[in-house]
Symmetry: C2
Subunit: 389 residues, 2 copies
């Protein structure tokens, strides 16, 4: 069991009606609120009105930063940061999914940024740790941004997507009913994201970190159980609640405590897909993960027992032939994603091999892939991309 | 799945050598340190010297509060609180197990207490939430006090043992090697405490909180696996590390998120044993838990499926007869404690029925037992105590 550090100071209110904690939470920090949100889905579900009623009745001054993109852009970080400075904002309220929240985290730091080049701020965390207080209301079970300090920001002009630690939300309000109207496609993609956050750490050389193994297998089995229910019955509270709490835990670091750092290779490879093609993050992960597993199993058969364990404990497969089981587990993962409506080839999401070389080189430009569970070279990554076509 | 709130702002450093974070952690809060510890076991293992070297070389002023008891007393809380006031302490450093830490939490609050009656402070949390910063170095895997805000303080003159929320440690340093020298008896008792913290929440009417079920069963199975190893090989790092991280999670609230509050009935009953007889908390819990399960199963057979699940998923028992399985699971729990050297009757720890009536009345004086998984009356509690003789 390896050493680890735990620190998540976020207060998380989970459950139907948790918005009742919003006013008291905001009041802790002040009356001038930057309200950040995405493309307007929060208006469709009535959440915008619900929030504005609380803000108006509570006497808050509200400045809006609307239109935060999926794969949020550096331009929006800059816009929001300038709004905070201009309007002397006390606290940011993010209403939406992980993209809105990631962007809001960067804005919280950007509000104190003294430079002009906000992309430089994303790239270089030195001297940019001071942040405005941040409260979020979550509307999508996927990234887990509500329970960690990180965020991912895209610079489409440079085809770059960079993750870094910004700031923890002071308060996260997680009401599963706000995810009732999430489309089948986004629900499935979000679930793939949750599963990926777990699998990135599950496949590791460490096998004596008992609690982490239990949490990892527990989250995977819960998503496998609840995603089909949520797709069939979008207002099934229990299914939506399990997916939401799974999402918060999955990216918190807790599921891989005590395990050797695996450097999240699929995320490194997927960030290139999103940076070049702006596809849905969870879909990219769903396409990549089974191919990555297939590739590394062929490259390094010593990992067979871990993959057989995955097949047994996560998918309930049985048998004595470890090598066969390992392959069946990967197939089960692929089939699960497919049966829940996720396009399972890059071709289906209009990606061809044009940029594979550049993307593979970029993915390998930091040392994450070299230090991964099974180390990967540029050639390896290109081959994995090709398997996804 | 029920609503819940999560808030644990503690920074936890886990692993061998984590003490390297001590000096920087203390320096965040100041140079005047109250060092609290127990009966001197930290001197035997060399930890006292290691800590004093860091404190001396770091230029800290140290005031000692030694002799904190197992089941820490209100008198010690008063003594420590007065030392803080007298010496203008900036930060408390607790070195020891859960008792030392619980006492230190009460002292942290007591340092700001304006009254004279410290027992009143324990009883009434109103207006006593301000607390000195607190850092702990853990030497025992048991209570989980390093990862929650609560503490339990005893008033032996009144035969009362009261738990309340005091303050979270700012930093917890959890190095499994510090538990190498813990006696077999205390290792087993600590493990029973960990298991009890889980079982109090496992037995609940809620069965759709997937992650909580996975964590609960995961912790129980990990303790069942690692306790015998730690007893046989006291310096087995992996076993000690798993027990330690299990202990931190078990009492954090996380394992029962989303489950109906079960009000921890065994703890309510055990606190009376400790308050009257000053026995080891974990031993009291180990004696009570199988008898409590046996009693409530007889009282309310509708809980049979949950107990059968416990038998299957935790103990690996198999069979189609749910009622038989339920009983076998309870027996397995009893036998596990016994085989690890825990005295499994009250008679063995010199407790007779003299105070059963008063203890049962006291246990039922708050509404925890009436609202428990299977509600218990004074008569029920007396019968459970009698089953433990």
């Amino acid at each position: 069991m390896e050493s680890f550090e735990h620190y998540i100071p976020t207060k998380l209110y989970f459950g139907k009606g948790s918005i009742s904690h919003l006013e008291e939470s905001l009041n802790t920090y002040g009356k001038r609120v930057l309200l950040s949100y995405g493309g307007g889905s929060i208006k469709k579900i009535g959440l915008y009105d619900e929030v504005m009623k609380i803000l108006n009745e509570g006497g808050f001054t509200v400045v809006e930063c609307a239109g935060v993109e999926p794969n949020p852009r550096i331009e929006t970080v800059e816009r929001g940061s300038k709004l905070c400075k201009e309007h002397n904002i006390d606290v940011i309220l993010s209403v939406g999914g992980g993209s809105t929240l990631d962007c809001s985290k960067a804005i919280a730091v950007g509000a104190y940024y003294k430079g002009d080049d906000y992309w430089q701020m994303v790239l270089d965390s030195r001297g940019t740790s001071k942040a405005l207080p941040l409260i979020d209301i979550l509307t999508l079970a996927a990234t887990g941004s509500e329970f960690d300090g990180g965020g991912v920001i895209s610079n489409m002009a440079l085809n770059k997507k960079i993750g870094r630690s910004f700031t923890f939300p002071q308060v996260s309000i997680c009401d599963p009913t706000y995810t009732y109207s999430v489309s089948a496609y986004q629900t499935a993609a979000g679930s793939a994201d949750i599963m990926s956050h777990i699998m990135e750490g599950y496949f590791s050389r460490t096998d004596d970190s008992d609690l982490s193994e239990a949490i990892q297998e527990g989250v995977l089995k819960s998503v496998i159980k609840n995603l089909p229910i949520a797709l069939k019955e979008p207002t099934n509270y229990s299914a939506r609640a399990n997916l939401m709490w799974n999402s918060s835990i999955a990216c918190s670091g807790i599921p891989e405590y005590g395990k050797l750092d695996t450097y999240w290779p699929c995320h490194a490879m997927e960030h290139e897909l999103s940076a070049y093609y702006d596809i849905t993050h969870g879909v990219g992960l769903a396409i990549l993960t089974p191919r990555w597993l297939e590739y590394i199993l062929a490259k390094d058969p010593t990992i067979t027992p871990r993959l057989a364990k995955f097949a047994r404990n996560v998918w309930g497969l049985q048998g004595d032939d470890e090598a066969a089981l390992a392959k069946q587990g990967i197939q089960a993962l692929h089939d699960f994603f497919k049966s829940n409506g996720i396009p399972m080839t890059l071709t289906e999401v209009n990606i061809n091999e044009e940029h594979f070389q550049a993307m593979a080189e970029s993915a390998c430009s930091h040392d994450r892939l070299q230090r991964a569970y099974v180390p990967l070279t540029v050639e390896d990554v290109k081959k994995i991309y090709q398997m996804c076509l």
